[in-house]
């Protein structure tokens, strides 16, 4: 195989730390049963952040309303379980489908206009959904939320497992969905399609000038990202038994963006690392100053941007060394 062919292949090769990450995730389920609830939260947040990476890191779309898809997945799963059937797998498919549909519809909105326009439109959609969920309280429970989402057992080739209070089944379920989505997303980003996303992020004009259909690609990636975010939302509703309005809040969209930025954009695993760091920091700081977590979060953001985002994921640059 020529050097060129090898170099092309090298981009898609499995790195050791990717395998290590997956191994660590699986091990965490085996070795930390008592932490399942916390780990479950982290994994859901990680999945949500990975979905944002597809549109932000890989396609360059700044969205302040990604929570729209997370939220709709959450409510879709909750309502499906309450009104139709409590099977978690079917509910998950429904949540993904609904979120994907919404994503496909909304993708039209982000095709044209400046960064500000896109920001506004994504923010607007999430705000509309929040208002809708608030006003349609006969369906969604309004500001009180939708409690009592009781799931049926999780059917697997190894038997049917009830969702236990300790969260072990839940975490295993979430991990499965997370790992599956990351594997699929991984194939996507290494493919010609994935490379073309990065191209249109870097230079939309040139991407079109080499024959790539920019709009079609944006529609597809936005839909896929929405679907995965919907899966994360569905996991939240199914594993916590509850759906509430805050899934649509601006705070969620801002938070997931921060999580991704902490972990690093554009290499797919930033969402996972960011979620771990973020949640741990959150628990640490909240124990110390519960009300003012947002202040420290804000300060962190300000310093992060002033110092330079790249520095966070490249500790060797902290003291002026060049890679």
């Amino acid at each position: 195989m020529s050097a060129v062919a090898q170099a092309l292949r090298a981009h898609a090769r499995w790195r050791w730390w990717e395998l290590a990450t997956f191994a660590a995730l699986v091990l965490s389920w085996l070795l930390l049963p008592g932490q399942s609830l916390l780990l479950n939260e982290i994994a859901i947040l990680a999945l949500f952040a990975v979905s944002l990476d597809l549109i932000l890191g890989y396609s360059g779309i700044v969205s302040l309303g990604h929570a729209a898809f997370f939220g709709i997945g959450s409510y879709a799963a909750a309502l499906f379980a309450k009104l139709v059937m409590p099977d978690p797998w079917v509910g998950m498919v429904v949540a993904i489908a609904v979120a994907a549909l919404l994503g496909a519809l909304c993708s039209v909105l982000i095709l044209r206009g400046s960064d500000l326009t896109r920001l506004m439109v994504t923010l607007g959609v999430a705000s509309i959904l929040y208002e809708l969920a608030n006003k349609l309280d006969w369906l969604t429970g309004g500001a009180d939320g939708l409690p009592g989402v009781v799931m049926g057992p999780l059917r697997t080739p190894f038997g049917a497992f009830e969702f236990d209070l300790g969260g072990r089944t839940a975490y295993a379920y979430t991990l499965f969905v997370l790992i599956l989505c990351v594997l699929l997303a991984r194939r996507l980003v290494h493919s010609p399609f994935g490379t073309s996303l990065q191209a249109l992020r870097d230079n939309r004009l040139r991407a079109a000038s080499i024959g790539l259909s920019v709009n079609a690609r944006l529609v597809v990636v936005y839909t896929v990202a929405a679907a995965i975010a919907g899966a994360a939302g569905g996991l939240l509703a199914q594993t916590t038994g509850f759906a509430s309005l805050d899934v649509f809040e601006f705070h969620r969209s801002a938070e997931v963006m921060l999580v991704l930025v902490i972990g690093g954009t554009g290499y797919l695993y930033g969402g996972i690392f960011g979620a771990i760091v973020f949640k741990l920091l959150h628990d640490l700081v909240s124990a110390w100053t519960p009300q003012y977590w947002n202040f420290w979060l804000g300060l962190f953001l300000v310093i992060l941007v002033l110092v330079g985002r790249e520095k966070l994921t490249r500790p060797w640059t902290w003291f002026g060394a060049k890679r």
Binding site: V4, L8, L188, H190, G194, T195, N203, I210, G211, L212
Partner: protein, 255 residues
């Protein structure tokens, strides 16, 4: 008489109070080696933007192989073989030259939508990239992010990317802008080595290169076609000299 590959009929572009393209009707034949020259602000780049679909004309039409492509989206024109380079490098900063070229090749092969197998799994991509990288002396930097490359290499990549699309009509917008004197001929050699049936339309200010490369010339002034003809005729045309070419070029044409 060669067949006409690319043609414009009464192409007009007007915005605000200006008319950068004023009733331009040109015909580019198969295998053309045509230079597009004119003073600054004559509308040369605007014409290229209209031909590639980046700008929509106010009036007039564009024809490719006898088919009206005036309404055709830019990326579709590329697929039909109308490819351009930019005066100011337009590259993919975070990708490597290998990835950039691989993507352009994949796009040309029609496999750029594949989402399951990695880029490069199709056996046709690597050899095509290898040829281009070698041709443009980019092999040694093929795995570096483009944003880290020196200007000269970026310029080479700019043109290589266009060639990766296997154009039938190649529109070069000042391809050697910013390239040191000694390296300019090299780029023209590569363009000259293109298959004879590829039509090349070249915007260029360096008259030496124009005379060495072009066989025909179109002169644009104030958005309209001022003169057209083979390169010798144009270089001798007193009107053209008056409006654009200088005295020194007259010596070169005779000597």
């Amino acid at each position: 008489m060669s067949e006409v590959v690319l043609e414009t009929r009464g192409l007009l572009k007007r915005f605000g109070g200006i008319t950068p393209t004023n009733d331009v009707s040109i015909q580019v034949e198969k295998g053309a080696r045509r230079a597009l020259i004119g003073p600054n602000g004559a509308g040369k780049t605007t014409l290229i933007n209209l031909l590639t679909g980046v700008l929509e004309p106010t009036a007039g039409s564009i024809w490719l192989d006898g088919q009206d492509i005036t309404q055709l989206a830019p990326h579709k024109r590329v697929r039909r073989g109308v490819v351009r380079t930019f005066q100011i490098n337009q590259l993919f900063g975070e990708l490597t030259p290998l990835q950039s070229l691989g993507l352009a090749v994949a796009s040309h092969l029609g496999i750029s939508g594949g989402w399951w197998k990695p880029l490069g799994s199709d056996a046709r991509v690597a050899p095509a990239c290898e040829t281009l990288l070698a041709q443009f002396h980019l092999s040694d930097v093929m795995n570096q992010p483009v944003k880290h490359l020196a200007y000269g290499k970026r310029r080479l990549l700019e043109i290589a990317t266009a060639l990766a699309c296997e154009p039938r009509v190649l529109l070069l917008d000042e391809p050697v802008a910013g390239v040191p004197e000694g390296e300019r001929q090299e780029i023209f050699d590569i363009v000259n080595a293109l298959p004879a049936d590829v039509s090349v339309l070249l915007i260029e200010h360096d008259m030496d290169l124009v005379f060495n490369f072009a066989s025909s010339v179109t002169v644009l002034v104030n958005g309209a076609v001022f003169a057209e003809g083979d390169v010798q005729a144009i270089s001798n045309d007193p009107r053209v000299k008056a409006v654009y070419l200088g005295e020194s070029t007259e010596e070169r044409a005779h000597g």
